[in-house]
């Protein structure tokens, strides 16, 4: 018993997955997932929640060792599997299984449902065809594809979306995994059948003491099925802890924004949250400091303001064409360059003092902490320079039963 309990522990420690992005002579590196750590116990569902591009799917693939992390460690059942060779991994694969979003794409259209479900144990070997068939029938019964003989010879095209997803789950369960990575398992299914698939997922967890990594963009679903939740933003976990605590009282401003943005099926109820402005920035070159700071409605002076934030501010300011005309001597926006903590623009034959005064005037009109984060506005080597203070180091902190990465705490 002791062994089993110890075996059911996965640790992702300081994992850093850098994905290379093709194109161009200089291949930019995307830190799809950057130094994240979490643990998952048997009988537990951990939700990885975030918007597209936050690294949640990459994390799932790294956990399954479908891709290898650039640095850090993955411990599965107490064993470091970070650098295992494909052949060594094969022995572990039955114990860690994926469920994907699109059941139609996950099933071979030329194989019957029965064949698809038996296939994994036939690949693993050591069973007769008859045994495989029996195991498949049993798995189909467990996921509610009953009567099994009615489905076993059907092709995926003959099944509804919900039935196909049941077949995909049966195919994962036939190998008796201890860990299932479910990547958006109900996102493609219609509302009226989602609940049934979620119930099945919960039911299998209880029956087999499964551990799930439940990857989703849908906070409402996550709230319903997950024991713990990790909120991801641009490759980082910004808040992780018990689902109940996080939903009752989210701490990270990003978590608050995500929860507040969900449309509520209750007419007349106004959203009571200030939406973050803009969209998730490019992961090739994430913002300094806290990656959420440019969009954060409650950002502080020390959150990581930098040159490009100022350039973006100018661009937004000059959407108003009157203002753009009035401040034409400071433009055009294309003349500005953001270099780390600095934003600069060539002075040419203009009056440096007047330009500095113009920038100061703009900064005085800024709402929010950006202006206060400016260290200096000056002309240096015939360039107008706006320089920002260095951000405060961001360290994850324990806040009321969960871990939050935010300078507010």
């Amino acid at each position: 018993m002791n062994v089993v309990q110890q075996a059911g522990r996965w640790i992702l420690h300081r994992m850093r997955k850098a994905e290379e992005d093709g194109g161009g002579p200089v291949r930019p590196v995307v830190h799809a997932v950057d130094k994240i750590s979490f643990e998952l116990e048997r009988g537990e569902i951990l939700g990885l929640v975030g918007e597209s591009g936050c690294g949640k799917t990459t994390t799932g693939r790294v956990v399954l060792r479908l891709i290898q992390p650039t640095s850090g460690h993955i411990l599965f059942e107490g064993r470091d599997i970070t650098d295992l060779k494909e052949a060594e991994l094969r022995g572990l694969r039955p114990r860690m299984q994926p469920i994907f979003q699109d059941p139609h794409a996950a099933l071979n259209p030329a194989m019957t449902i029965g064949q698809s479900i038996q296939d994994p144990i036939l690949i693993q070997g050591g069973v007769t065809g008859e045994e495989a068939k029996q195991a498949a029938t049993k798995a189909m019964m467990e996921v509610g594809l009953v009567p099994a003989q009615e489905f076993v010879d059907k092709y995926p095209a003959d099944l509804s979306g919900g039935q196909k997803q049941r077949a995909v789950i049966a195919r994962a369960m036939i190998l008796k995994p201890s860990l299932v990575v479910a990547d958006e398992p109900v996102a493609m299914l219609d509302m009226s059948i989602r609940a049934k698939i979620l119930e099945l997922i919960l039911d299998l967890k209880r029956r087999y003491d499964l551990a799930y990594l439940f990857i989703t963009h849908d906070l409402a679903t996550a709230k319903f099925v997950c024991d713990r939740i990790a909120i991801m933003y641009l490759g980082r976990i910004v808040e992780i802890g018990p689902a109940r605590a996080i939903f009752a009282d989210p701490k990270h401003p990003y978590t608050k924004a995500l929860i507040g943005a969900i449309p509520v099926p209750e007419p007349g109820r106004a959203r009571d949250v200030r939406l973050p402005h803009g969209e998730v920035p490019d992961a090739v070159n994430p913002p300094a400091g806290c990656r959420f700071h440019p969009r954060c409605p409650v950002a502080l002076v020390s959150c990581g303001w930098e040159g490009r934030d100022f350039v973006n501010h100018l661009e937004e300011r000059w959407l108003n064409s009157e203002r753009a005309r009035a401040e034409v001597s400071l433009g055009p926006i294309e003349a500005w360059r953001a270099e780390g903590l600095r934003a600069t623009r060539a002075v040419k034959d203009q009056d440096g003092k007047a330009l500095v005064a113009g920038i100061r005037k703009i900064l005085a009109e800024v709402h929010g902490p950006l202006a206060a984060a400016v260290d200096q506005v000056a002309v240096e080597e015939s360039r107008l320079v706006v320089r920002f203070r260095k951000p405060e180091a961001l360290v994850p902190k324990e806040v009321e039963g969960r871990t939050v990465e935010c300078l507010l705490y």
């Binding site: 918007e51 039935q163 509302m191 009226s192 509520v264 099926p265 007419p267 969209e279 661009e315 294309e334």
Partner: protein
Amino acid sequence: MTGALLEARDLSVHYTTRRGPVKAVDGVTFDLRAGETLGVVGETGCGKSTLGKAILGILPRRTKVEGSLKFHGKQLLGMPEDEYRRMRGEELSVIFQDPMTRLDPLMTVRDHFLEAIRSHDRSVSSDDAQERAEKALRSMGIPPSRLEYYPHELSGGMRQRIMIAMALVLRPQLLVADEPTTALDVIVEAQILDILRDLRNAASMALLLITHNLGIVAETADRAAVMYAGRLAELGPVADIFRRPIHPYTQGLLASTIHLGTKELRSIDGTPPSLLDPPSGCRFHPRCPYAKEICTTKEPPMVEYRPGQFAACHFGRDFL
């Protein structure tokens, strides 16, 4: 009802497929008033997108459309294609789910705008068109410098805002939005919905909002039309549809929607039917917990159970 911008009467759309005719929309009747937002909700294959395409006149050729569909009292069905084309953009416009598939990857944002504007009015000069495009972008909070960008250089939310700006550049009276935020993340979705709401308030434009997401309808629409297997199950003011639904399908759909307040998982038994061979009588009867003999044989008519709230259920009175 007079004063309606759009009137659909017994509208049916039948696709011809190799496996037989598919009754994607079957006998749908509703009105859309000027400045009103009507949310059309339902699950995959209920006919909601086909309904949108029928209004825009962009169904595949050889599709059988019957009934009546009037815009400003003018019959749209059978309208000559060149007249329809002029109306699209100027009077009716559309935004789709995935803007990336609707923008030409080889055209810049500017090219798209110039095409949209000048295909309707050749006399507009390039400078005028450019100015209108810049103004349209600014109104969506997009810097005019993005006019030089190609679609792949823009984020998903930016693309959808550009699609909206393009759809509105000719000031249509009716905008059909087919799952306009489904491809977007929840925060950007909320931003786009804010834009659509502001537009509605400012421009007195009617909006037909097609979505599978009940939350979006509750937040954005004035009235909701619930579709099931090609037919209208229920139609009425949003407050009534959500607080006191009549049709068992509407009840089931609301109960199975997972939201932050969900305490208990509910679902509707069975799966949506094939439209090649829809069930007899009430199409929902095989999945309906209250179905009786009559439901299997007789199609229920739309009945006004409360002022403005219609439901197609033989036993609607029992759910009042």
